[in-house]
Symmetry: C2
Subunit: 387 residues, 2 copies
């Protein structure tokens, strides 16, 4: 079952997939891999677990807290991977930093995060994502967003909207304020939630110069189309650059015919702690949480050895599958009574042929073929019967 049900055989948050659900998952993963490949992305496969010190160092407190940790027999702490971005950053920073840039990688597979028990919350879930490494340009940002949208379409999802912000704008606007952690968190939270009353109260207590005060107070209103970029108050060149980057990304997305799928939201500041530039989330009609999320992280790879800018995203495969109406057929086309050369030919041409291994009587084999949804029975004597 895609959404974990009460299953006392299994820990909370993990699931057994079989029949249609497993076939749909494989079909989705293939469609995603094919899409990423056509855009020039090559697969990268990090280990399922590695040293916690590698995965945890730049993960931010929440993600770090959610990691599954255990001990190697030599006493070092290991952790199951909780996303792909951090291990890929490690690989690039330690092994691939001297390659021709940009590097384009995709990864598809399980990641693991401990979440409090709650209906439908998964602790093992499937991410499919890309990282575009070595290009800090609006073109790179736009490619990441356009590819996320194209990937959702490849999964049959057409009705989606992306929110797009830039972490650099808020970072610039808050710089040198020397807020304590609690105030910083409260301020970001009020901005993100567009809670203007709480924000006004917090700003009043901070004794800011009037430009900065207005810039921050206006933030909850800065969402919508590109017009919001004209209303953003820029307290310095970094803030201005962040706004101009968004303008360039939207212009580039218009080239893809995708600008209409984007809502700018300068108040957006959720997501991974390592984001330094644009950040985006994709929402689909009928689902209350994001099916895709990503952003630019220009300082993460440096932690592992070499400073290289990057942008990427991840799609939540199970989340998208909740919206798919497709069935991935797993019925055999043919039930054969016995092995024959004809079966080998048919399989070589891609047909699905099941051979009886229970020496069933004719009627029993007919009944089984109906249950399995097969279209033909091939009898021992060469006769073909439609089911």
């Amino acid at each position: 079952m895609l959404t974990p049900q009460l299953d006392k055989q299994l820990p909370d948050g993990v699931a057994d997939l079989f029949f249609n659900d497993a076939a749909r998952k494989r079909a989705a993963e293939r469609a995603l891999a094919d899409t990423f490949t056509r855009w020039g992305y090559a697969e990268i496969i990090p280990p399922m677990f590695e040293y916690y010190e590698s995965l945890g160092a730049k993960a931010g407190p929440q993600l770090r807290e959610e990691m599954y940790r255990f001990f190697d027999r030599d006493g070092r702490t290991l952790a199951l991977r909780a996303d792909f971005t951090i291990p890929i950053a490690r690989i690039v920073g330690t092994k691939l930093f001297d390659r021709a840039m940009p590097l384009r990688f995709y990864a598809i597979g399980s990641v693991f995060r401990f979440k409090e028990p709650q209906a439908g919350v998964r602790r093992e879930f499937t991410q499919a994502g890309i990282e575009l490494i070595g290009a800090n340009t609006a073109d790179a940002d736009a490619e990441a967003i356009a590819l996320a949208m194209t990937a959702l379409r490849a999964l049959g999802l057409d009705d989606f909207r992306f929110t797009l912000g830039n972490a650099a704008y808020l970072q610039a606007t808050l710089r040198d304020l020397a807020l304590n952690a609690a105030d910083d968190a409260a301020l970001r939270d009020a901005i993100r939630r567009k809670n203007t009353a709480a924000l006004a109260q917090l700003l009043a207590a901070l004794n800011l110069d009037s430009t900065r005060h207005t810039a921050l107070a206006r933030l909850p209103t800065l969402w919508g189309n590109a017009e919001v970029l004209d209303r953003a108050i820029c307290i310095d060149d970094d803030a201005r650059a962040a706004i101009e980057r968004l303008r360039a990304v939207v212009a580039q997305l218009a080239q893809f015919g995708l600008a209409d799928c984007v809502t700018l939201d300068l108040a957006e500041n959720r997501g991974m702690d390592y984001y330094t530039g644009i950040l985006f989330e994709g929402f689909a009609q009928g689902l209350g949480f994001a099916v895709a999320s990503g952003g630019r992280y220009d300082n993460l790879i440096a932690h592992f050895g070499h400073a290289i800018p990057a942008v990427g995203f991840a799609i939540g495969v199970e989340r998208v599958m909740m919206l798919q109406r497709t069935r991935a057929s797993v019925a055999p086309e043919v039930i054969a009574q016995t092995h024959s050369a004809r079966i080998e030919d048919a399989r070589a041409r891609g047909r699905i042929v099941e051979v009886d291994v229970l020496n069933r009587a004719e009627d029993a084999l007919r009944a089984y073929a109906r249950v399995r949804g097969a279209r033909e029975i091939w009898w021992r004597d060469g006769a073909i019967e439609n089911v």
Copy 2:
């Protein structure tokens, strides 16, 4: 790297895969999934971890010892899956026992076993296997073996040999002897290693009736073609049934044209503790360890609730990849200077097109296209240049 190298960034036995190695792994997994599908097998995806009490109960002491264990936050012990057979047995025994039989499942993915550090030993490795559930027949046994061979061929491996034994024969021959665990292990070990001197010494100390003594003493010589089945001494009906089962399996494999790839070996008794019938291993030219192994386990699913016979195998994907000479190309076909509708068309037709996101000058883009192995450059003005 497929064979883990010294990599102080990573724990022993896990590896980063990228470029050609990752592409080859994905190609191998697709070829295996396609082959299994054509034989009527449907994918099943067990969780990456579940309760240790489920995975460990029937695993046998060695496999249990090799499991990676950790604690859930509610204090229960979890373990990473160490094979697919045990979780699939749990799923069938608890959820699918009332379905039309046989059930045919395949699974492909990572499994985890702690192994002592040693060059090339993996602790995370990829198994691709099938389980044929609900049929205790020679046809089912033969299908499992034939599919293992066909799967190896789908990966480009033609030069392989399978050993085939039957755990039931030795079990019958040793029944009611009431050996202590050490004697039992020493006897099985001497038989498996075909160490006739050690075996003679052990048998002399056991004070057996002469039929049983001869049956066991002869075991190390009972390997080769079907003629060995005539030389096996059967102390009871169970032993006789085990021999006749092997005869029927070999006859069935002859129908597939595959009997010549099999060496019978009645002394074979390695493998999983849960095997109750035929057991087999596939060896490839140039590799000192098995690339495939499997067997019949008629009592495992019963542990989880319902007694259902089954046979299955697993292929070690990384082991097979060590023998493959193929390269899976990951080069883009086209480097495009800028985004265009033509690119969308090309990608929709399956071509790999990379768009420059670094606004490179013409010469720099030409140099990059050469490094990446691209065949064409598509310039902004519509011109196409061969690289």
